[in-house]
């Protein structure tokens, strides 16, 4: 009660605490674990492992490494719940049990995926340590030859040519379409968006089958790098359109309006405001599309044809690419061919991961969110503009001085 009356009688106005008065302590750790919780976890893990070993060795007829892991995990969960329930209520037991479940899911997933990558790289090392693997082709190397003969230079070149063809078609078309969807709009644009969304569902093998039947059987009558490039384009185009569309939609409307307000035409607004603002996002979307396109095997399987020789002409003759070369290598039962397959897969994997990391370092930023370097560049450009304006004004004033008396009239006011 006294509090209330006091509140009523105190003069209105906000009281701000004096800065020096308020004691500040160390920030409280709210997310971490207490020592007790940590001991619960460690204790349950150790006793789970011990219990399982006992079960496997002495008490029950169980065997196998995978079985050990599964039984150990289950007994760990049971023991952990038991330990936590010693000093907590049901709600907290459930909470900590689910947290452990989520973490286990994460550990399983990241463990498995990291293992897949490391496994490929590790088995590829055998082939990768031979320098000729990168410089020679398989033309004069048979399945029985050791790894010191033959290589995948032709597949690397083929991949580069095919992805260049695909990029040359898909980038202008994809970004042009995304610009159309965002800057022109209208009913037709909605239709285009629906169709390109539908096309992201196209299975890659069906895209390959289309190019095989329409381009190879209908026009060229032979498998070629160009056909493979077209098949990759059909796969990449919807991906690029979709992500570029999202990026362009994020460009703030007031930037466009400011540009129109200054009297810029639509085209100048797109070229000087919208596209530069979204540049990093567009680059990211193209690179991610490229990473997907490079890794596609099934459309290439139907369209490019298999060859062991170097072919730099995309118009005639089969031209193999890296994923298809991997597929072709591991069809053979010979250990050296399988080793080559893993080597080629490792090269492909490194290529895709490198593309992804480049995309990440360039993009992943919202429009207008600049890196330190871009910010410096923008500041420098702005400074140059100021200098240019002052120089221009000074020039204009100098030009007006000889006119003498007319200066006043020349004043725009």
């Amino acid at each position: 009660m006294t509090d209330l009356t006091e509140l009523i009688h105190t003069p209105s106005g906000t009281r701000t605490p004096v800065a020096g008065d308020t004691p500040t302590g160390a920030p409280r750790e709210v997310r971490g674990m207490t020592a007790r919780q940590r001991f619960d976890l460690i204790g349950a893990a150790i006793s789970g492992a011990c219990l399982t070993t006992l079960l496997f060795g002495w008490f029950a007829p169980l065997s196998g490494a995978l079985g050990w892991v599964v039984v150990a995990f289950i007994s760990f969960l049971g023991l952990y719940v038991l330990l936590v329930s010693l000093d907590s209520d049901t709600q907290e037991v459930i909470d900590r049990f689910t947290t452990v479940l989520f973490t286990s899911a994460g550990v399983v997933l990241f463990g498995a995926l990291a293992f897949i990558v490391v496994y490929t790289l590790a088995r590829g090392v055998e082939a990768l340590t031979n320098a000729n693997f990168f410089t020679e082709t398989m033309q004069f190397a048979g399945p029985l030859d050791p790894l010191s003969a033959g290589g995948i230079a032709h597949a690397i070149v083929g991949t580069l040519i095919q992805i260049s063809i695909a990029l040359a078609i898909a980038v202008p078309l994809g970004i042009g379409t995304a610009v159309f969807l965002n800057e022109v709009g209208g009913r037709f644009a909605r239709f285009v968006r629906t169709v390109s969304d539908a096309m992201t569902a196209l299975p890659s093998i069906v895209a390959g089958l289309f190019v095989y039947a329409a381009v190879i059987q209908g026009v060229t009558h032979e498998r070629s790098g160009l056909a493979a490039g077209i098949a990759i384009t059909v796969m990449m185009l919807p991906i690029i359109i979709r992500s570029a569309d999202v990026v362009l939609r994020l460009v703030p409307g007031n930037l466009r309006e400011a540009s129109y307000g200054l009297g810029a035409t639509r085209w100048r607004t797109v070229w000087h405001v919208v596209l530069p603002t979204a540049r990093s996002g567009l680059v990211t979307s193209v690179i991610l599309g490229t990473a997907r396109g490079i890794g596609e095997t099934s459309p290439v399987l139907l369209t490019s044809g298999v060859t062991a020789a170097m072919n730099t002409n995309p118009l005639t003759g089969p031209m193999i690419s890296l994923p298809l070369q991997v597929f072709d290598f591991v069809r053979s039962p010979e250990p050296s061919m399988v080793a080559r397959g893993f080597g080629a897969a490792a090269v492909l994997l490194v290529l895709v991961l490198a593309l992804f990391l480049i995309a990440r370092s360039l993009g992943g930023r919202a429009p207008g969110d600049l890196s330190e370097r871009q910010r410096r560049a923008v500041l420098a450009a702005s400074r140059r503009d100021v200098q240019r304006f002052t120089a221009r004004q000074a020039h204009a004033e100098r030009a007006l001085v000889p006119a003498g008396a007319r200066t006043v009239q020349g004043d725009p006011r």
Partner: protein, 339 residues
């Protein structure tokens, strides 16, 4: 007031009586820009419609020959006019369902770990890793499946078939119903292909679910905590209902990818053309693996039959994708609370 107004008004003259017309005439560069952008859109649509129309046209030859039995016939021999997608579609769906059984618990758990449990730099690193994993080529997964998983998963498959063999789809029996126990009966099965495809789609699903979970409004989260909820209580009351659309959408997009996966499945399975309910037993099939297997030797008519199979697969993934995107769009994720 009237005086002021009357002075402010311009004197009506005969020339000013005609109202000014606001017609903006587009500049030349604008006209060109508009035409170029529109033609980019038209070309895109043309390419995509061409794919759809070409597939339907070529497929119609085969479909007209066999009619509705295309959906019920199990055999695939276009030479004798007995071919249908019953067995291969069944195989495709089996593999996809097994893939989802593997991937859904993993992806929901990991998505919650990333959005609710992990913080700071660890979260940023793991989110990047998930995106990175989505870009790993499927042939790499295929190699792992053939050379590592196949050898190591067979004891598990055998164990499941021994202890759960009373469930019809876990049993592995020969024609007379006698259970198999030798390892060779468990290779190249839908089970193994499903696990590999499952690992392949987990990153996609996780990324979509995490994004939906992370958008759960902070105000409602804090409200749940303020009412004394634990973290799991908050997740159950706020994050999961809010992210329901994201979960369903993620699962369905993963399903779409799993149905269309070719190369990893092709490398693992040994193709058969009968419906095989025993998922642990050798032999299954999928539409994309069938196309990869048969396109080369196919005659004009055989190609048309393959196109019909491809068209069925495309329609299936199309329906799934559109359902997924409309569920994601209609979920609460777009709505805002007062946070």
């Amino acid at each position: 007031m009237t005086a002021m107004l009357s002075t402010a008004l311009p004197q009506p003259t005969s020339e000013a009586a005609v109202p000014r017309r606001f017609v903006s005439r587009a500049s030349v560069s604008d006209v060109i820009f508009r035409r170029v952008a529109t033609s980019a859109g038209i070309i895109t649509v043309a390419i995509m419609l061409a794919v759809g129309l070409f597939l339907s046209l070529r497929a119609s030859t085969a479909l007209r020959t066999v009619g509705w039995t295309f959906l019920t016939e199990q055999q695939w021999s276009p030479e004798t006019n007995t071919f249908g997608v019953a067995a291969i579609l069944f195989g495709t769906v089996t593999i996809a369902v097994i893939a989802l059984t593997v991937s859904v618990p993993l992806s929901i758990g990991t998505a919650l770990l990333l959005s609710e449990v992990a913080t700071g730099r660890l979260r940023a690193t793991l989110v990047t890793l998930v995106d990175l994993m989505a870009a790993v080529p499927s042939i790499v997964f295929g190699l792992w499946g053939v050379y590592f998983l196949q050898g190591n998963i067979i004891p598990v498959a055998k164990w499941i078939s021994i202890w759960f063999g009373w469930l019809p789809f876990f049993a592995v029996t020969d024609a007379s119903g006698q259970p198999f126990t030798e390892a060779s009966a468990f290779t190249s099965s839908a089970f193994i292909a499903g696990i590999v495809v499952g690992m392949m789609v987990v990153p996609t699903q996780t990324a979509i679910m995490r994004e939906a979970f992370a958008r759960a409004p902070i105000g409602e989260r804090e409200g749940a905590y303020a009412l004394g909820s634990t973290r799991w209580g908050m997740i159950r009351a706020v994050v999961l209902p809010f992210g329901k659309g994201g979960i369903i959408g993620g699962i369905m997009l993963g399903l779409g990818r799993a149905l269309g996966e070719t190369i990893a499945v092709y490398m693992i399975i040994s193709p058969i053309f009968v419906i095989n309910w025993q998922v642990l037993k050798t032999g299954t099939n999928s539409v994309s693996a069938l196309i990869a297997l048969r396109y080369g030797e196919a005659s004009e008519f055989g190609l048309s039959a393959l196109m019909a199979a491809g068209l069925v697969l495309f329609l299936l993934t199309l329906v799934i994708n559109f359902t997924a995107s409309s569920i994601v769009a209609r979920s609460r994720s777009g709505a805002q609370s007062d946070d």
